[in-house]
Symmetry: C2
Subunit: 192 residues, 2 copies
């Protein structure tokens, strides 16, 4: 049975290779450059191999998104755990979120801009996505304010961060006041 196990291991390894390569390619040249042909060439297999691991390009994007969600959650928790006041925690959360979006634009797109075939905000939502939201909720719940439901409050704060992240990166917002905008968000939205 060890032959079968070895093959399964190799197969899993190749799947990780596909996701990693897709991510690298997307970060280097954008998702438009991630074609099935180019991706296949980079992993040194033929195109149809991709389809033995994923239903299609969409599912590959989804796999990158899930990887990103896990990292985002880790990043946010790491940033907030080092802060001592509620105000500092919220600011750290905002900066960690925007940093992630800035330094991993392709992954961020896979998560929140592109169609990766994932379901959001539902029962069958994949665990990494739920957990990323939970990471935000943990810090934001304590600054929602009296009588304000932490869920919708987190959603609103998150939406604001998402707007800043996407509009800034798309060149729709001038970069000079970036820090000022974050301060505004933290000081006004959070009840600290």
């Amino acid at each position: 049975m060890s032959v079968k196990e070895r093959k399964e291991r190799e197969r899993a390894e190749r799947e990780r290779l596909i996701v990693r390569t897709a991510r690298e390619l997307a970060e280097q040249q954008g998702w438009d450059a991630v074609t099935t042909r180019r991706l296949a060439e980079r992993i040194e297999y033929s195109q149809p191999v991709l389809y033995s691991h994923f239903r299609g390009k969409r599912e590959i994007i989804g796999a990158v998104a899930l990887e990103g969600a896990t990292e985002l959650a880790v990043g946010v928790r790491a940033a907030t755990s080092g802060a001592n006041s509620r105000r500092e925690r919220v600011a750290a959360l905002a900066r960690a979120y925007l940093d992630f979006a800035e330094h991993n634009p392709a992954v961020y797109d896979a998560l929140f801009q592109l169609d990766g075939g994932l379901s959001y905000a539902q029962e069958d939502t994949p665990e990494p996505l739920k957990d990323a939201f939970a990471a935000l909720l943990e810090t934001l719940a304590e600054v929602a304010g009296d009588g304000v439901d932490p869920g919708p409050f987190t959603e609103t704060f998150w939406a604001a961060l998402h707007g800043l992240a996407t509009l800034t990166r798309a060149g729709r917002l001038p970069p000079e006041y970036a820090e000022h905008r974050v301060e505004l968000l933290v000081d006004r939205l959070a009840m600290v």
Copy 2:
């Protein structure tokens, strides 16, 4: 010379037809369905005719975006002009913005999600885009708060609205608390 004038008129008319048709098709079936072939068929001309008006598909998206920017500005100004208090004006602005995004998803995408080849937040930014931002600024400047630059404040508020609009429509936010989220944004961000 009247022959030449007639031809110019007809040409301008056909250009409007292209933009209008692209917009209709995009609203009906999404931008993915707006292929040059389908678009050409709908306007009852051949594909290359499109390229005698626009450099490519991107520029057609850009044209739809500019049309949308004008309408968005009109909508926001109409909504705010009917409100009597600062609080009401900001709330009306937020609702008008989100209504526009909800009822014209394809146009909204052309404006803020897709690449229409337009430049934003710069000197050479097309007038309709500048004016749409100005429409937001007019109402939001009066609630920025003491010592807060209205520009970055408007940018921040806008980003929050944009986040709500896109995440809601993409199914990333549950629809049930939509109104609650708007209230939060208005009550907290604006100094009313």
